[in-house]
Subunit: 149 residues, 2 copies
DNA sequence: CTAGGTGCAAAAGGTTTGCGGTTAA
DNA sequence: TTAACCGCAAACCTTTTGCACCTAG
């Protein structure tokens, strides 16, 4: 199977380069995992990514999907999204953003952060260095809120 | 062992009542678990709570600590604090607040939220209901940041 | 007295790892 | 060619559960 004959056509050269630059190989498995993530930005779990990837590449294993997700995360192409102790979800949106979790249907949405949330000078001890911050919102999505009535 | 002869003296009547009101029993195990949490507000994991509680009550089991933490959480006396896939930590601070996680030493601090973070009207689809929000900051605590130099 | 809680051990569930064979560069 | 990667299965680790006994109310 050549690269140009499969779904990987849509890969942007820069992703290839991003992976190579980090000293990782650009394998079919990694491409398919990344494609699965880009195709539907609905924050799938590793198992969901596995099932979707399996359709294109039936031989792939769950362990490989986990490994690929790990590698892509290390490359900065993908972000881990954790909520409580639920299975990790994965997100290819690299913009700084928060997440909304629907308590009813389990949907996960990206939430844009405005300047003030990004900037946030927190009340922290002098000398503390903040490198990253995450915002998680919970509640009911519009559809579920409507049903509740 | 009577209640008044052990460390449970410091229990505020209201905790007792809070538990009773929910239809739960006020057991020694639950008291000791809660005490362990109140004694050092350093966001221990369940295993750490277990080890601390075991000193006062050697017969307690880890499963019971998990059960007690669960019950106390249901009563609203304790909050779960999750970060990535690391073991859950527990926190008796009921004020609305965020958490700072030191990447180097693993320390966890409470971070007060100011009005604007609390208020935050997020850019969400119309009809979305937000019931809860969490802020997690990562970086280096003052001590670790100093060492890095 | 008795429903609910505890302790134990075993199971569950997500994720990681060791290893022999495979493949991108 | 060869170091990195894959697939498989087994291990890991945190958390939950089933069950017999115990205890707070």
């Amino acid at each position: 199977m050549s690269v140009s004959s499969d779904k990987c056509d849509k890969w942007d050269k820069s992703y290839d380069e991003t992976i190579s630059l980090r000293g990782f190989r650009f394998t079919k498995q990694r491409r398919h995992v990344y494609d699965a993530l880009m195709a539907r930005r609905d924050h799938p779990t590793a198992v969901e990514v596995f099932l979707r990837t399996k359709k294109e590449m039936p031989s792939i294993s769950l362990a490989t999907v986990y490994n690929c997700l790990e590698t892509l995360t290390e490359c900065g192409l993908v972000r881990h999204v954790n909520h409580d102790r639920a299975p990790s979800r994965y997100c290819p949106n690299l913009e700084e953003h928060g997440h909304f979790f629907c308590d009813d249907c389990g949907a996960v949405f990206d939430v844009p952060l405005r300047k003030r949330e990004k900037a946030g000078q927190w009340e922290l001890p002098t000398g503390t260095v903040v490198t990253n911050h995450e915002v998680a919102l919970r509640g009911l999505c519009a559809a579920c809120a409507k049903k509740q009535v």
